[in-house]
């Protein structure tokens, strides 16, 4: 298992798609920080978190380098999954390994050198809090839906990876319960980076990194200035989630009053 040290990440600039140097000196991510990465599709958001996951040393397409606690990471930290303090959930929701859920998790536990067998059941239970139809340990990984796969990988990162730094690439996709994911991440006190197109996720983070043309175009630290809009968006999100659940459950939404009351309950102004 990775050392229980504090890990501070430093991102050193690379170049944009035209080969020009990025306009920042360094971005520092301290333990417990939350960040969102926003920008148009193709602007380099996934490449940014990928650089962090592989602990790039000017050997990816962006040319960025990543330091841990101010230094070039040791070979162990880069190469041994049991020592790597980073878990990444990519947008990829396909698994190629023809293994049962239980076997997949057992092998990953072996790689990460964490925990006892009981973790497997706990991981599946946690995944089932994020997804709709339940995952069982005897199911094959290749048979899971995109949302189920995403759920199992997030639960795996939290409980089996046990890493202090979590990178989530468009967690809002695949129809999983993102509020539950967020509250779970808070519960386990992770440093977290969301690549996102979702206003709610972008607004709950401490810092917002804006991407353009493959490079970081700016970093915002909104502080308290976005509190009012966050409250509104939280309400809207709750409203939409409830509506989505009703639609998924096969209900006909014919009564605007009912929708209105849900809306009021969620604290959304009409």
């Amino acid at each position: 298992m990775y050392d229980e040290l504090a890990y501070e990440l430093t991102v050193l600039p690379g170049t944009n798609k035209d080969g020009e140097k990025e306009g920042f000196d360094r971005i520092i991510i301290r333990p417990g920080d939350t960040l969102s990465i926003v920008g148009a599709t193709g602007s380099g958001k996934s490449a940014f978190v990928n650089d962090i996951e592989v602990l790039a040393q000017n050997d990816t397409v962006t040319g960025r380098s990543i330091l841990i606690n101010g230094e070039e990471p040791s070979e162990d930290l880069v190469r041994d999954p049991a020592k790597k303090p980073i878990a990444l959930i990519t947008q990829n929701t396909r698994v190629i390994a023809d293994l049962t859920v239980a076997r997949f998790l057992a092998l990953h536990m072996q790689a990460r050198d964490t925990g006892a067998q009981s973790l497997i059941a706990r991981t599946i239970d946690l995944a089932n809090e994020f997804t709709g139809e339940k995952i069982a340990e005897s199911m094959r990984m290749t048979a899971l839906s995109g949302g189920q796969t995403r759920s199992i990988l997030i639960a795996d990162a939290i409980l089996i990876g046990q890493t202090p730094i979590l990178l989530l690439d468009e967690v809002e996709n695949a129809g999983i319960n993102k509020e539950r994911v967020v509250s779970c991440i808070r519960e386990y006190k992770k440093s977290v980076i969301f690549v996102t197109h979702d206003p709610y996720l972008a607004l709950i983070t401490d810092k917002r990194v804006i991407m353009k043309n493959g490079a970081v175009a700016g970093v915002l630290e909104p502080g308290d200035r976005e509190r009012a809009i966050l409250q509104t968006v939280t309400g809207m999100d709750a409203f939409l989630w409830e509506l989505r659940e009703k639609i998924r459950g096969g209900e006909l939404i014919s009564d605007p009053v009912e929708a209105q009351s849900t809306r009021k309950k969620a604290g959304v102004p009409a």
């Binding site: 990928n50 996951e53 592989v54 790039a56 040393q57 050997d59 990816t60 397409v61 070979e75 880069v78 190469r79 999954p81 878990a87 990444l88 959930i89 990519t90 990829n92 698994v95 190629i96 390994a97 023809d98 293994l99 997949f104 092998l107 990953h108 072996q110 790689a111 990460r112 990988l153 795996d156 990162a157 990876g161």
Partner: protein
């Protein structure tokens, strides 16, 4: 001169890995490249054009490419030495993947794609077991958890092998492979180079062209179904 032997299944990314090796050593070691393939190969022309290095290819035709590699390796070393190359890179197309094309006095690289399924390391056990490094390519196509599970699958076959994960097209993570090649000694005596393992290369009656099915029609290396679990594991 250093000898580097690269093997792996088709489309694993062997040439992408080799491209990164050549890029790194092209100025210091003057690499030469030999490709051994069955019927068609273009890599020699591409690499010659891209890096201006000496390249060659040989088609094995009705011979297994790894048989062919063993046949021609001594000549290939002489060819590269005459060119005053500092490094000879041999890429074998492999075939049944039970083979061990690696020799003594050479750095052996097994290239495996991360997308090849969790049982593939077991199926290619001899190819991995006698290599110096297992390079896992296409890691950008799988999730981090799956990449780490694949790594465990390799370790279940060869517990202590040096595993290097990469997106070989970009060269991500390959610095550890390049360092290992750098440190590896050159050929000390080409006359004494031999295969690291005993490959399953015994000529059988099928190899010489007998087409009848069933072990009853063959002699030499034969296997009835009941003894078919006699798996070759590369020594």
């Amino acid at each position: 001169m250093k000898l580097v032997i690269v093997a792996g299944p088709p489309s694993a990314g062997k040439t992408a890995v080799i491209r990164q090796i050549i890029k790194k050593f092209s100025k210091t070691d003057k690499p030469a490249y030999l490709k051994i393939d069955v019927v068609k190969a273009f890599e020699d022309e591409e690499l010659h054009e891209e890096f201006g290095i000496h390249t060659r290819k040989v088609y094995s035709g009705d011979l297994c490419p790894d048989h062919m590699g063993i046949m021609v390796l001594r000549d290939a070393i002489s060819w590269a030495e005459e060119l005053k190359a500092g490094m000879l890179i041999v890429e074998s197309a492999g075939l049944c993947l039970r083979c061990t094309p690696y020799t003594t006095q050479a750095f052996g690289i097994a290239v495996l794609p991360a997308v090849s399924g969790s049982n593939s390391p077991l199926k290619m056990a001899p190819l991995i077991a006698l290599a110096d490094a297992a390079v896992v390519t296409k890691t950008d196509l799988v999730s981090q958890a799956e990449k780490e599970v694949f790594r465990e699958c390799i370790r279940s076959v060869v517990p202590n092998i040096d595993i290097i994960e990469t997106n070989a097209v970009q060269g991500t993570g390959l610095r550890y492979l390049l360092q290992a090649i750098s440190k590896y000694p050159g050929i000390s005596d080409a006359e004494t180079i031999s295969l690291r393992g005993t490959p399953p290369l015994g000529v059988c009656t099928i190899c010489i062209g007998k087409k009848d099915i069933g072990w009853q029609h063959h002699f030499g290396v034969i296997r009835p179904l009941e003894e078919a679990d006699n798996i070759y594991r590369g020594d």
